[in-house]
Each structure stands twice: as C-alpha cells, then as structure tokens.
C-alpha cells in the first residue's frame, strides 16, 4: 500500500512539472488557435536564464527565489516580443503555417541558446533548506518536490482557475476562446489581448522552466524533449481546456510513474499509444470541446 502511495506521489510530481508547461500551451491554443511549437523553447530559456541568474549574477543558491520572481517575467517579455514580431502576421493563415512558423522559431531559438550558453549540460542547485529529502512511508522524497514543486503547481492551478473564471479579464479571455470575432466587435483591443495571452502563456512556460530546473538537467535540446510531452498532455486532456490539461498531466505523470514500475521498458510507448487512442476515439480529448472544422 505504501509502495502504491509512493508511486502515486511520484506520478503527481511528474504531473505537476508537465502541467506547468502544458498549461501555457493549452491556453495559447485555446485563445489564439496556435499550437505553439516554440513553447518548449520558452521553457528552456526559463531554465537557462535561471542558471545565469543564480550562477553568474548572484552566485548564490538562495537567489532561486529572486529567479522565481524575475525569470518568468523575462520569458513573458520574450514571448510578447515573439508574438508581436512574428506570430501576429499569420493569425489569418492556415493553421499549418502557424505551426511551421513556430517550428522555425524553435530552430532559431535552439541554436541561439547554444551560442549564448554553450552546448554543455548545466545545472542549478536547489535553494538552501530544500536540499534534502523527506521520508514518506519509508521512501525518501526530495523535499524540493514536496514543498516547492507541488505547492507551486497547485497554486498555479488555482490561480489560473480564479483568474479565468472570476476576473473580468479572465472572462474576456474565455470568451475569446469561444468566438474571436465577437470579441473585436465588443470593442476589446484584440491585438493587445492576443499579445497579453501569449505573454501569459510564455510566463507559465518560463515558470515551468524555473521550477523544473533544480530537479533535472539543463541542456540545449530540452525544448524538443519537453514539447512532445506537452503535446501528449494537451491532446489527452483536450486542446484548449485547462481542466483537461490538469487531467492530462495527471494521467501522463501517473502512467509514467507506474509504468516505470510495472513495465519499465515500455512506458513511453504506452503513453504514445494512449495519445493515439484518445485521438482516434475522442479527438477533442477527455475534457475538450467537440472538434470544429478548421483544426
């Protein structure tokens, strides 16, 4: 029983990490209709920027907290710049073109990372006080996961929910998911809204990059690795549905965690099979709205 709980907790941890990243992807797709390939790149830049901040600017592991505050904002600015410079011209084009454009950005950003930070793996240490482990049911868990990763994930979830459902701006954004033309007709500055939403998505991606950084390696190429995982999560949960992203992330995390336990060689395969099954049986995802033509 305790084994089960341990794996469950492990799965939830994985789920939280991928949730943070996938939520931005899902939000941007829901409002702007763009499946942003470059979202993984934004996540990567979050990690690398944190690395620079902690290593070169402040030389101290406790600057993690500053990083948590500052880096997502920087990534949001980067995202806004990308949207204004590139994406905004292709909203009217075929969704394929948008996807390809974001892929072009992935390629560019991928090499720029190498030019700026070099091609080696980097790492950041966990903030002081959270270096150790915590024993739960006799198994050791990194205290970082329990006390930072999980709470951050939950806070983000609640925060997004409150923002989208209880604030005026959030309602406007949700309305934009339903009907983009109407929003403009209601006198709302659609351009600004789009840039803002994209920036918010980037912020979430950057936050994911910051939070995930102390737990794993920081390396060029993490953008491609993570974006495939994020795609799987949003497809399973439902493109454009934030509750779906939570569900998708949970399924992804638990599948990975229990998968490693029971069928260690094949858990990635199973995840892709699940993705295929969801697309075939219920293409809108578990919690998504019905698939409309055009996507």
């Amino acid at each position: 029983m305790s084994d089960f709980f341990v794996q469950f907790l492990n799965g939830v941890t994985i789920a939280m990490t991928i949730y943070l990243i996938a939520s931005g992807l899902s939000l941007v797709f829901g409002v702007l209709g763009v499946l942003n390939f470059a979202h993984g790149s934004l996540y990567m830049y979050g990690s690398f920027l944190l690395f620079t901040l902690m290593r070169s600017v402040f030389h101290s592991p406790s600057s993690f907290w500053i990083g948590l505050l500052v880096v997502p904002l920087l990534v949001a600015i980067l995202g806004a710049a990308l949207e204004m410079g590139f994406l905004r011209f292709v909203y009217k084009a075929d969704p394929l073109y948008q996807l390809l454009l974001t892929y072009g950005l992935v390629l560019i950003m991928s090499d720029v990372v190498k030019l700026i930070w070099g091609a080696e793996n980097q790492s950041v240490s966990r903030p002081p006080g959270f270096n150790g482990s915590v024993a739960i049911f006799g198994q050791l868990f990194p205290s970082y996961s329990i006390f930072i990763l999980l709470p951050c994930g939950i806070v983000t979830m609640i925060g997004l929910y409150v923002f989208l459902n209880r604030t005026r701006l959030g309602r406007i954004i949700r309305a934009a998911t339903q009907d983009r033309e109407m929003i403009g007709a209601l006198g709302i500055n659609v351009r600004l809204l789009y840039t803002g939403v994209f920036a918010l998505g980037a912020w979430l991606g950057g936050l994911g990059g910051v939070i995930a950084a102390p737990m794993g390696a920081i390396y060029p190429g993490m953008d491609l690795d993570i974006i495939i995982d994020a795609f799987i999560v949003v497809v399973i949960g439902g493109l454009g549905s934030l509750a779906g992203t939570v569900l998708g992330a949970l399924i992804f995390g638990l599948l990975r965690s229990f998968g490693i336990l029971f069928v260690p060689q094949f858990e990635t395969l199973f995840i892709f099979i699940l993705m295929a099954i969801v697309l075939v049986v219920r293409p809108q995802g578990l919690l998504g709205k019905h698939v409309t033509s055009g996507h």
Partner: protein, 472 residues
C-alpha cells in the same frame, strides 16, 4: 453573362491546351536525367573531387523520393503528416530484417518488401488517421511515428533496440569503395519511383486528390468518396516512403530507430516547403537545396545550422509561401476584387515582404562574416549598420519608383539582388549565404512577372489605379 467592365482591361490569354505535348516531353526529361546523372560519379572521380559528393548526391536522391512521396499527401491532397518518417523506419527495418534474419533471402525481394510493408502499415495507420483533420491529423501521425520509433527502440531481441540492426547482407555489386555502384543503384530506383509518382499525380487519381485538397465538400458532391481517396493517397505515400527507407538502409547496411524519429518527418516537411509544395518537382529541388546547405554549413559552422534553417523557414513562410518553385502563389485566389485592385494589393504585399528579404540578407552577410572573422566584429557591425541606412534609403526610393509601373524599374529590381550577391562572394560567405539572395531574386521575379502585374507594367496606369477602388 458579362462581367462589369473594369478600369484596367486585362486581356485574357486564350491558350489552346498543349499539355499533351508537354506530358510526353516530361517522360523524355526523366530519361535524359537518368542518362546524364548516371555518369556523375565517374565525372566526380575524374575531377578529383571528394568521394563524399557521390554519397551526398545519392542521399539527395533518396530524400527527393521521400519528399515527393510526402508531398503527394501534403501538396496534392492537402494532408500534412508529421509522422511520415514512420514509413522510412518500417521500410528500412522490413528489408533489413528480411535480409538479415533469413539467410539467403533474395535481395530484390527484400527491396520489394519495403513498399509492400509500407503500404500495409499505411493502410492500418491511415484507417485511423483519416478520420481526423488538420492539427489532429498531424498529431495522430506524429503519435504513430513515435510508436514505431519506440517499438524499434525497445524491442531489443527483434530489432536490436537502440543499437540498431547492423551488418545486413547486401549484394556485392552494390557495395564498392567509391560508392559509385551504390549511387547508380539509388539513382535508378529513385528515378523509377519518382517517375511512377509523376504518372500517379497526373492521372485521374491525382486530379481527384487535388480536388479533395481544394474543396473536400465539393469533391464529395461530385461523387468522390473523400475519406476513401485520402486513405488511398496515404497508402501510396507510405509505400514510396518505405522504399526510400530501404534505400537509406542499404547504404549503411544498417538501420537504426532514429530513421523514424519525428525530426526526420519535419525535415522532409521543410524540404517540401522550401522547394514548393504546389509543384511536383518542388520537393526535389527543396531536398537538393537543403542537403546542400546542410553539407555546406555543418562543415564549418555546425553550431548555427538550425539557426539558418529556422530563418530560411521563417523567410519562406513570410515572403515566398509557394517555395522556390511555387509560381502559383498560395494567396487567397477566391478574391472578388477586380484586376486593378488585385494589382494594387499585390504591389503593396511586395513592398512589405521586400523588407524581410532585405533584413535577412543584411543579417546573414554580417553574421557569416563575424563567424569567419570574429575579431573584427565591431567593424562588421558598423559596416552593416551603414549598409542598412544606405539600403533603406535606396530601396524606399526604388520602391516608390516601382509604383509608377515603368518597365525600367521592374528590370532594376530584378537585377538588384546582384548587389548582395556580389557582397557575399566578396566576403567568401558559404554557399548558403547565397541562398537568401537566390530566394530574394525568385521572390522578386514571382511578384513582378506574374501575369496581371506584367500587364500593368508598360501602361501609365497610376492614375487609373488610384481611382480603381471606386470601380468595384
């Protein structure tokens, strides 16, 4: 039923269909290509160039076949697959496994097994995929290709896992130290494959596919079972892609799961876009250019290959969506504007997009130069800034002159890219730097030489064009 008279009467050219003659001519082009290309390895060896070029060309041919097969789906049927590399893997592994595990298995049979297995796999995968459209279709093809990849990766006992399948027996006449035999073998197989695809694309089946691409609803209501034909297209594309996979395998005499990895699918997508998805030979041109640029840049500047590729992609998407060969502009052709307005809008588009190319050319000249001579980077930046200022002033003036529609300026614009070209040559930037200038020239030609704009030039029209909006 007469159309309302337009301010600018553009005489429509009535052309009698001469396509019968052209079609037969193309068959001869294939034959000519075969003959000409057959002796290239001997030529290369004679000139003393590196043997590497022979392998490179052979690989380009295989990519070309793969790209044309891919484009059957994308350009001709309108289905964008993100997982076409799955069939590379299926073809490569099928032939590889048959040849390796069954001793004495005939080579020809093993080769034929590849497209057969590709077709079967495409039948199964396609059955599920065609239920979806666009983004979801793309995602599902991606999922299936990753399933193929991971199956090959994990099934250690059968496929050799991530070590791949190595030491596959291949007839002696294919292997030889100069790779010339391999080259010829690949040339013949890919030419035959591309020729077959050419016939398919021009057949009634191919026409049906383009109708489905253009308007699936309408195609349904001329009696076409759209889903079934999409599945057929999927199967044909899968078969030829698998053949390409087998060819890849034969060179290395080994096959690895990476053959099916999703980045290979995006690579063929890029090739097709670069060359132009709405033409038959576009993807081949794209394959050639991409592999050439790859070889060129990864030699000296491997660290910026993706940067360059990404920039090319962005540039093409903005400025030249029809690709290099794309003389059918992928613009909204269902516009109800009259000719004069269309010309005006096109000129506006031209002016806007011109600046993308300008910026890209400037950026990459400077960038490559800095990479070559990093110490003098400050001078380079200053020079580039100066170029930018001068260029902006000059080009703005030129663009304004262009709008008077005098023939001279059209020619000036076409000749203009020679300037940055000369700069690139003087700075010894790699071949790929020239690519941007080539694209720029193609872009200018595309816009200024297309039918309606061609008519507009040579007529002092700017007065008429100014009042054209009211004519609607």
């Amino acid at each position: 039923m007469n159309t309302p008279p337009t301010t600018l009467t553009v005489p429509r050219q009535v052309t009698v269909p001469t396509r019968t003659a052209r079609g037969d001519r193309t068959t001869w082009i294939f034959v000519a290509a075969l003959v000409l290309l057959f002796w290239v390895p001997e030529a290369i060896l004679y000139m003393g160039w590196a043997r590497f070029w022979i392998t490179l060309l052979a690989e380009v041919f295989i990519w070309g076949l793969f790209a044309v097969a891919f484009n059957l789906l994308m350009g001709y049927t309108g289905m964008i697959s993100f997982g076409q590399a799955a069939y590379l893997g299926i073809g490569g592994y099928t032939t590889g496994l048959l040849l390796k595990k069954i001793s004495g298995f005939p080579f020809a049979l093993g080769l034929i097994a590849a497209p057969v297995s590709g077709a079967l796999a495409a039948l199964i995968i396609g059955y599920f995929c065609i239920r979806l459209t666009h983004t979801y279709f793309a995602m599902l093809t991606l999922a299936f290709s990753m399933i193929v990849y991971y199956t090959a990766f994990k099934w250690y006992d059968f496929t050799g896992g991530d070590n791949g399948l190595i030491g596959i027996p291949v007839p002696a006449w294919v292997q030889d130290p100069t790779f010339a035999n391999y080259y010829k073998f690949v040339l013949v197989v890919t030419l035959v494959g591309v020729y077959l695809l050419w016939r398919i694309v021009n057949s009634p089946f191919g026409k049906t596919l383009t109708a489905i691409r253009e308007n699936p609803d309408r195609a349904g209501f001329v009696g076409i079972n759209v889903k079934r034909y999409q599945l057929y297209a999927f199967i044909v594309a899968g078969a030829f892609s698998a053949l390409a996979g087998a060819l890849f395998m034969i060179n290395e005499r080994s096959v690895y799961p990476e053959l099916a990895f999703w980045t290979r699918s995006t690579q063929v997508l890029l090739m097709s876009i670069l060359g132009g998805v709405y033409t038959f030979f576009g993807p081949i041109v794209g394959a050639f250019m991409l592999q050439l640029m790859d070889a060129d840049i990864t030699k000296d500047y491997p660290q910026i290959w993706q940067l360059f590729l990404g920039s090319m992609l962005v540039l093409i998407l903005y400025g030249l969506p029809g690709g290099i060969m794309g003389f059918i502009q992928a613009r909204d052709t269902a516009s109800t504007d009259d000719a004069a307005t269309r010309v005006r809008k096109a000129m506006g588009e031209f002016s806007r997009k011109f600046w993308y190319f300008f910026a890209a050319a400037l950026f990459f000249t400077a960038f490559f130069h800095i990479l070559q001579a990093p110490d003098t980077w400050k001078t380079t930046v200053l020079l580039t800034a100066a170029q930018a200022v001068v260029g902006v002033v000059l080009c703005t003036w030129m663009l304004r002159q262009l709008n008077t529609f005098t023939q001279l300026w059209r020619v000036v614009f076409l000749v203009f890219p020679l300037l940055p070209l000369a700069l690139h040559i003087a700075l010894h930037t790699p071949l790929s730097g020239l690519m941007i200038v080539v694209l720029w020239a193609v872009f200018i030609y595309n816009y200024l030489w297309q039918a309606e704009i061609r008519e507009a030039f040579g007529q002092p029209q700017h007065v008429a064009l100014d009042i054209a909006p009211e004519a609607q």
